[in-house]
Each structure stands twice: as C-alpha cells, then as structure tokens.
Symmetry: D2
Subunit: 270 residues, 4 copies
C-alpha cells in the first residue's frame, strides 16, 4: 500500500513517512508555500511525504471558530498542491456523505478521533477504495482499534492506517500512551503518531483548545523510538495567525531541524 | 419546554422526569410491553415520562453487532409506542441527514456522546425545532458543554437538554463526575443522568462493552441528590437476551422499586 | 464499634455520623470555637459527632507550608477539645512511631490517603487498639481497600473505617467515584466520604492545592444518597485565613444549613 | 554528582546510566549473580551502573507478600554486592528513621513514589548527604516535583535525582507521560525512567500487581529518545519465581540485547 502511494517519490525505504501541512485550507498561497518547503525538506532527507490539510473543520469546540473556505474550493486546492509537488494528499471527512466526494481529490481519507466508532463513516470511507487513516479516539485503547480495522476490511478495503493522538487524562489534558504503537502494529497496519493533536489541552474555558508546541520534538522522538511507521505534524509559517490549532502547530522553519534529528533516531531503531 | 412536553400527562411538578425504554427497537411487542409497564409505573409515582429507543445503532464497537430493524420501521414503531401510551418519545441520531427524518417521529432528538462536538449534527438537530438532548462526551467537561448549548441556541433553538453519562477513566472504565450536574445546570438547561451508559466498561477485548448493572441504584440516587432534573434508564424484560447494551440495562421488574426510592430522595432535596 | 464510640452522645441511631473540625490545630481558641458550634449543631440534629484536627501536617506540597504547633501541644489540645464537648476525637498519623503516642490522645487514628499502602503504619495503628480510619489512596480502587482492612484485622484490630476522598483524574483534578461507597461497604466496615479533600485541585503551579468549596453540598448529598455511613467535613470560621486547606474548608456558619439538608436525604434512604 | 558516583567505573561519558538489579534482596547468591552479569554487560557497553535491590518491602498490596530477609542482612548484602563489582548501590527507604541506617550501606537513597510528598522522609534522606532519588508519585505532575527537589535542597543536599514511573490511569493501569522527562529536567536534576514499575497493573483483584514485561523495550526506547539521563530496570534470572514484582522484571538474559539497542538510540540523540 505505502510503496504504491510513494511511487512518485525518491526516498530511503527504511525511513518513516511524514504526513504534514497546515491544519486547514486557509488559502492557495499557504498551501503552496508549505507544500514547497516540506516536500523539499523531505526529498533531501529521504522521507516519503503526504501533504495534509483539512478542507472543512466540523468539530470545533465553539461555533464561532473558522471552518473552511467551502468544500469544493478546499478539496480542489488540496489536490492542486499534491499535483504541484508530486506527493499524495490527505484530508479528514466527518460524515458518510463526504467520503465519495473527498475521495475524488484525496489519496488518504482520515477519520477524526471522535468519529472512529461511527460504523457508517468507516464503511463509506472503505468503499471509496482509498487508504483510510483512522485516528484512535481519545477514549479508545490501542487493542480495541482492531474493531475499526475489521469494519474497514470487511467492507472490502485492506488499506488501513491507524494513528495515536493522545488519550483523555482528566478534562484538560491528553497523554500519549506509547504502548499503543506496538499494540496497534499488531493489527497488521502502519501506525502513525499525530504529534500535533497529542499536545492539545482540551476543554479550556475560552472554547479554544490550548497546547504545548515546545514538546513536539519529545512526542515525535519517543514515537520513532517506539517503532512508529509515520508521523503526523501540522506546520504553518506563522502559527500565531493560523485559523485553527495555532496552539500546537510547528513553526515551519523548525521542521527541518526536527526531521534531521528524527531520521537519526530512526536509523538507530531499524 | 418540559411543561409543554408533558402536557398530556398527570404528574407531580416537583418530581424528576424519566427517559426510559429498551436500548434499541427490537420488535413492536417489546416496545409495547416496556411502554405499557413503564408508563403505568410513572403515572402511579407522578413521574413525567419520555419513552426512549434507538431506531439504529451506529457506533457499536464491533461491526457484527445488531444495528436495528431498518430506519423507517424503527421510527414508526417508536412513534406508535408514544401514541399508545400518550407519552413523548426520543431517539438518537448520528448524522445531520437523519435529523429531519427522525424529527417527524420523535419529540426529542438525542445526540450521542461521541458526537457532541459535531457542529453540523447539532445544527441540523436544532433546525428541526425539536428538543435536542446532547449527551456530554466522555472526553468533555461539564463547563465546556456550554459551547454545545451555544451552537444549538445560535441555530435558533432554545430547547436543549444536557446529559452526563460518565467520563473516560483509563481505557476500560468510566467514572461519573457529579460536579457536572451543577456545572451543566449553570448553562440554563435541564440536566439528565444517564444511569445506564455511565456504567459501561468500554474497550473490552471481546468487542462487547461490559457493565455493572447492580450499581444503577447508586448512580441514580446520587444523581437525584445532586440535583439532576431527569434520569435516563434503559430497561428490558430480559437484559440477558437484549440485542444491545444487555450488560447495563435494568431488569424491567426492578424499575418500580428503584423509582419509589428515588422519588423519596427527590422529595428530600426539592 | 460506633455504638461504643458515641455512647456519651444522644443522637438518632439511623443518622449518619460526622467527622468535622478545622484542618489543623491552629490554636486552642479555634478548636474550642469549632468544637462548641459543631457539637451544638449535631446535638440539635441528632448526628453523632467526632471532632477532627491534625496535630501535624507531614505531606504538604511545599516545604514552606505551616505544619503545626508542635506534636505534644497539638495532641493535648485535641484531647482537651473532645473532653470539653464530650465527643470522641480523631487525628491523622504519618509514621509507625506516631501511632502509640497519638493513641494516648485520640479515639480514632486516621491514615492519610498517600500512606494507605504502608504496611508498617497500618499495623502500628492497629496495635494501639484504637479505631483505624484509612483514607482510600487517590490511586487505589475501592475493592482493593480490602487488603488494607485485612492488614489491620490480621494485626488483631477489627475496628476499621474506610474513607473515599477522590481519585486521580489527570494531574490537577480529582473525581469522586461513588461506586466506591457500596464497593467498600462490602468489606464489612463503615464508609465515610471526605467532602473536603475530594474537592482538591492538586499539582497547582503555586505549590498550594486549590479547591472548589461551593461543591461541598453536591459531594455530601450524593454521598448520603449512595449510602455513606459518615461524612468528613473540614470547617473553619474563616477559611480564607486558615493555615492549611483554606481552599476547601466549609465556612462554619454554612454547616448547619448543609447538615439539615443532608439529614433529610438520609431519612429518605434508610 | 554523577561523575563522582561513577569514578570507579570506565564508561562512555555521553551514555545514559543504569540502575538495575532484582526487586528485593532474596539471597546473596541472587545478588552476586545479577551484579556479576549486569556489571559485565555495562562495562562492555560503556554504561555507568548502579546496583539496586530493596532491603525491605513496605507497601505491598497484601500483608501476606514477602517483605525481606531482615533489614541488617539485606543492607549488608547490598553493600557487599556493590563492593564485589565496584559499583555504587541503591535501595529504597520508607520512614525517616530508616534514612541514617540505610545511608551507612547505600550510595543513593530512593524515595518510593507513594511517599514522595512526605516531608519528614525527604528531609531525613537529605540530611544523610547521600544522593536522593525521588520517584514521582503516580498522582503528581512532573512540574510539581520541583517542590520535592526544593525540600531536599533546603535541607542542605543538592544531590537529587527524579524518576518517572507512570501515572494513575483508571484503577488498573498506569500510563507513562514522556512530557515529564523534559519537565523534570527543568528542575536541574538528572531524570530516570523506571521501566519496570511503569508497566504495573495495580489494583488487581488478587492483591498481586500485574504487568506487561514485553513492553519494557518500548518504555525504555521512548525514554532514551525523550532525553532521559538514566534508566531503572529490575531484572532477575527467573522472574516467574521472584519474590516480588515478578510480573514486570526483565529476564536477565534479555538485558544485554535491550541495552545494545538503547545505546544506539542514545548515540542518535546526544
């Protein structure tokens, strides 16, 4: 599955893969800037790369938060970015009716963590034939994610990825449980660490989720050492003005240094 | 809102209200049996009553679990039961496209806990004009549920209920936090305790959620003492053969004794 | 055990009992003021009463916090207060070497939650022959507290009380699990709810534990409804100037109203 | 501090250090066997080594568990093992009265996690002048451990180590939070990961703590990648017959392979 996905790229086959981009499709300029810089860095480091941006945000805490530029525009810009840099693209979907539409533009459909138990959504995503990347719910154990994999496989699609993104730890904190990496690898699928959303501080009184972006390196390093197959990192040239998840996105100019360090750890563990 | 809802019933206006029924629409016989017995008990105890059954189960852990008799059949049987016993009815919906359909048959639309952050779903439910009962996510704090209320109110619907149903406590347990009752009442809406799903033991290796039904009385008594406005209790004549949530449903013949005790506690706190 | 303990008091034998007083022995005046008011209120309401104050604080977060007036002075004032109002007294101990000393002055030795697994301490307390009240650790389940009971009983002392005082819920919050009340009653001992420390907000960056005293009524009401045999409530005429746990103590002038309400709930459940 | 401690050993100064040994002093033969094998492995890999065994177990869940050979015997065997292999030794203490005694035999005094808030114990340990290794309580955050460091430093001892050993995650599980490694390093002290007790499964109905020893490699790899200065690993030739913590100790013959892998990760991160 991954070999086909990365067929257009040159990379080190023992490396981890990277899913990265801005949280949400804010503008064409932003997508092109991020796509250009990240694809160049990944090419230089031999990291296979998947561009990520959400075309719509459906589960913001507060109704007044930004939710996107419009579905059609968002999806087209996503696809255009992938084509420009010859990399696959991914976005998240939130209802079964979005699956077939998004599948026309994206190579991987991502299932949000809150929705990882919604059977209709998993089956609709599976039936597109695209790769389905299910984020583990903050309330689900790694071993239980085998039931999500089974729902997709029974719908005729064996192309599944699972992603750890932190676990409910009191109301206002998440904790990453690295045991979930080997536990989910036992389901026979690639396992990704979402280094961005793992650092969320939910349920803030402002209605805007907080974060700890200075810990992205710790989260990512531990994930690679634990055997993660891929990393998910949201990045933005200026997180302070980003329209979503600014509290946790990595500043784009810090990405290269981080990836260099992670490639070294990867070489030590494979 | 509640006064209108219970206009067809005779009850003690200082009492709590009860949302009860079998987890899922298994058959017309089952609905009629439960509706008959529970409405009789409630009439005798002066408890205003709302009949509940899910017409479809969308988020079972495992894909092989029972999901319903078909949407149309399920909704019609639900409505028929309400009419037979002159009580309002409620069911849960799982996607924005279900809201308008379910609203033709149900008086209250219930939003599942996993979906309490899905803006599209909350707005679609709000726009039906029906009462919207949002279950607090296992990963959401009571104070943060104000954002769910706001999403519905901004969509033009002020008829909101919030329900506590337990909080993620490690992978295989939930804990009820009774602070959420006063915290959610501060949002200006009636607050319900879901005594059934609060006792779930999720992420079991079998893919079937476990439970502790012998503790329903403890959960319910503490809720009434804490000021809950209503209780949600799934009940079945024979939980061992129920097609969903058998591990936590109250045996129907135990309901009357429990409610008698709860009415006494209620009288002590109002 | 409790009948003997309360032999000097007149009370309603179906009532819950109350352990109450200021967190720490600050001065003789404070003890006498609190002892006088609380014993009067309890006599009027038919509540059997145990006076509580710590003679030493051994586990403050920060080393600069107040730890007591000196052991001898503290214990003597405690005993004097009990004698003045003809009520039994309790204090907590922190090391096995304190047990025999404190037992000369106190009727009940309380084991702090952090120390509930320290075998030496439990045995030393048991060997005094006094009643031993073990607070359930924030990291221990109610069912596992049977091992604490066994350690004391095997040391020849059957006079054991267990107390719920909240469970670790992320780093900065505790949640009361009311299931622990019936679970610990299965061990054959009276079960108390500590309404004060259950509301702590630990691990604050200031080194001073925070709190939510406005929720004491919720915690206490739910406890009585759940079948708790006793309540533990720290109270102070002016919590804002108290030398320990000011964040959670109940203002003394609010105690009577709360207890009146709780007595009504108790009558509804026994 | 560490340079002096390891003065008698030859090692790679960029390497992590290892605290390892059997959980408890079972016999002289066991200590000599483990000390011989582990010191040889460490010498070959350039890892500075500290021999560990408890001379007494004070906080077993159940009173019928093994607690040691006797204090004097246990401490003497510990010291003899260190002398035999020219490595420093460490043991845990449980009361302030044990500090001065244990300090005659051990180079590092370890404070158990449950006791990390006991001021008397921390001060008594500090006053011996020995290095004090405080295990972070399962209920304490990494940032809050600064108060433990302060208590020791104010008592005149700057030789402090902090150890992560997992955090309460529901009743029957612990989760390691790797954020605690950088958070505790900010307190200016070396930080250790306890790979053994982090994998405990507490509150089992049997009264014997369970475990997941197959995950030791995951826990340790992630710790080194996160910047831990040292590792704590209990090891035994035959964990199945060990008298304590058998559920989590690493089989001695697996240690060398694990350490080889960890040294490679370490080289990638320093």
């Amino acid at each position: 599955m991954l070999t086909d996905l990365f067929a257009g790229q040159q990379y080190d086959s023992t490396n981890f893969f990277l899913i990265a981009g801005p949280c949400v499709v804010e503008s064409e300029e932003l997508l092109m800037e991020v796509g250009d810089k990240v694809s160049t860095i990944c090419r230089n480091l031999g990291i296979p790369y998947i561009f990520k941006a959400s075309y719509r945000k459906a589960n913001r805490t507060s109704a007044s938060s930004f939710t996107g530029l419009g579905d059609e525009t968002g999806l087209q810009l996503l696809q255009k970015t992938g084509a420009a840099f010859k990399v696959p693209v991914t976005t998240d979907i939130h209802g079964h009716d979005e699956a077939a539409v998004a599948a026309q533009f994206a190579d991987i459909l991502q299932i949000p963590a809150f929705l990882c138990r919604q059977t209709d959504l998993l089956i609709a995503a599976a039936e597109t034939g695209k790769i389905v990347n299910v984020k583990k719910g903050q309330f689900v154990s790694g071993p239980s994610m085998k039931f999500a994999v089974e729902k997709i496989v029974r719908a005729g699609n064996e192309n599944v990825i699972l992603t750890e993104r932190g676990n409910t730890f009191g109301y206002q904190d998440l904790v990453v449980d690295y045991r979930n990496i080997p536990w989910m690898k036992e389901h026979g699928v690639p396992v990704v660490m979402d280094c961005t959303h793992s650092l969320q501080q939910p349920n803030q009184t402002t209605g805007v989720t907080g974060g700890n972006p200075q810990l992205i390196g710790t989260i990512a390093s531990a994930a690679i050492a634990s055997g993660a197959d891929g990393l998910f990192i949201e990045t933005h040239p200026n997180p302070a003005v980003a329209k979503s998840d600014g509290a946790n996105m990595l500043r784009l100019d810090l990405l290269e240094g981080l990836l260099q360090k992670l490639v070294k750890i990867r070489k030590a563990v494979v």
